[in-house]
């Protein structure tokens, strides 16, 4: 995302320009995945600013040419005229400790799955959780506030827990190793545990 008056209108002009991310977080990885399609690696200039608020403000005050943020910061930016140059999505993951038993994990996931049904049935009804988030609401207020009508609902994609296909794990592993974000000595089998059975093959 870039400022309303930014000369940038697509990612290809961001070469050697600072892009605000948070290292080792989604903003870091998604930005690489998005920018590598437009720029040679050596021209991608990521700068870690930390929190979403800090990244958003760095973009607005000119410390960075662009920032990588998630909702509700995207909707706030769009409301004040900022331009989205690219959007990417990624898989979220539940990370449970070794001592969590399978029955408890399954019970949690059933509750969360029902909550996802509630959210997806009426997304705007539940956007108050985002709008009133303590780290977001004060900033939004500075820009006139934000309402559920300001959100692009198809962007909000909550899905139920699902099997993590080994092919996707492997592709992600190889991508992270290529970018030096993961040691090649790490083993995917040590990092990912599928607690759901693989889907039955189609007839």
């Amino acid at each position: 995302m870039v400022r309303p008056d930014s000369p940038h209108n697509y990612p290809g002009t961001l070469g050697n320009r600072p892009v605000a991310v948070s290292f080792h977080a989604a903003a870091h990885y998604v930005s690489l995945r998005l920018l590598e399609g437009y720029l040679p690696n050596e021209k991608i200039q990521l700068v870690s600013f930390g929190s979403p608020r800090r990244r958003f403000e760095a973009m607005l005050n000119g410390e960075a040419d662009a920032c990588v943020v998630m909702e509700p910061w995207i909707s706030l930016g769009e409301k004040i005229g900022c331009k989205s140059l690219a959007e990417g999505h990624y898989l979220g993951a539940e990370n449970a400790s070794d001592d969590m038993d399978a029955e408890t994990f399954a019970a949690i996931n059933r509750a969360v799955s029902r909550a996802i049904d509630l959210f997806n049935a009426d997304k705007r009804k539940h956007l108050h959780y985002m709008i009133n988030a303590p780290d977001f609401a004060p900033v939004a207020a500075q820009y006139g506030g934000i309402s559920p009508e300001d959100f692009h609902l198809p962007r909000l994609r909550y899905t139920k827990d699902t099997y993590y296909p080994p092919e996707i794990v492997e592709d992600t592993y190889n991508w992270m190793v290529r970018w030096g974000l993961l040691s090649a000595s790490a083993c995917t089998a040590d990092l990912v545990q599928n607690r759901q059975a693989a889907p039955a093959p189609a007839d």
């Binding site: 948070s22 290292f23 080792h24 977080a25 989604a26 870091h28 200039q45 990521l46 700068v47 870690s48 600013f49 930390g50 929190s51 979403p52 800090r54 760095a58 410390e63 998630m70 909702e71 509700p72 979220g92 993951a93 539940e94 990370n95 449970a96 400790s97 001592d99 969590m100 408890t104 994990f105 019970a107 949690i108 059933r110 509750a111 969360v112 029902r114 909550a115 996802i116 509630l118 959210f119 539940h126 959780y129 985002m130 988030a133 780290d135 977001f136 909550y158 974000l181």
Partner: protein
């Protein structure tokens, strides 16, 4: 009720969990779900070097065994 302590971090990750708590869906599953906020000590230091940033980020409660689950 089985007590489970979960980390709550970015709101975009947390909405289903907050709904499940507010609508009593965890309780219906026999789970007494407690939330602990991720520690907001994610480094806001400006740096070009990924090695300057601890990849644990704000997930300190998980690393310190204060919570048993988090999402990212």
């Amino acid at each position: 009720m089985k007590k489970v302590v979960s980390e709550i971090s970015g709101i975009v990750f947390s909405i289903p969990w907050l709904i499940a708590k507010d609508y009593g869906l965890f309780e219906e599953e026999g789970i007494d779900m407690q939330f602990v906020p991720a520690q907001g000590d994610r480094e806001n230091r400006v740096t070009h070097n990924p090695d300057d940033v601890n990849p644990i980020l704000g997930h300190v409660p998980y690393e310190q065994n204060m919570v048993s689950i988090y999402r990212a």
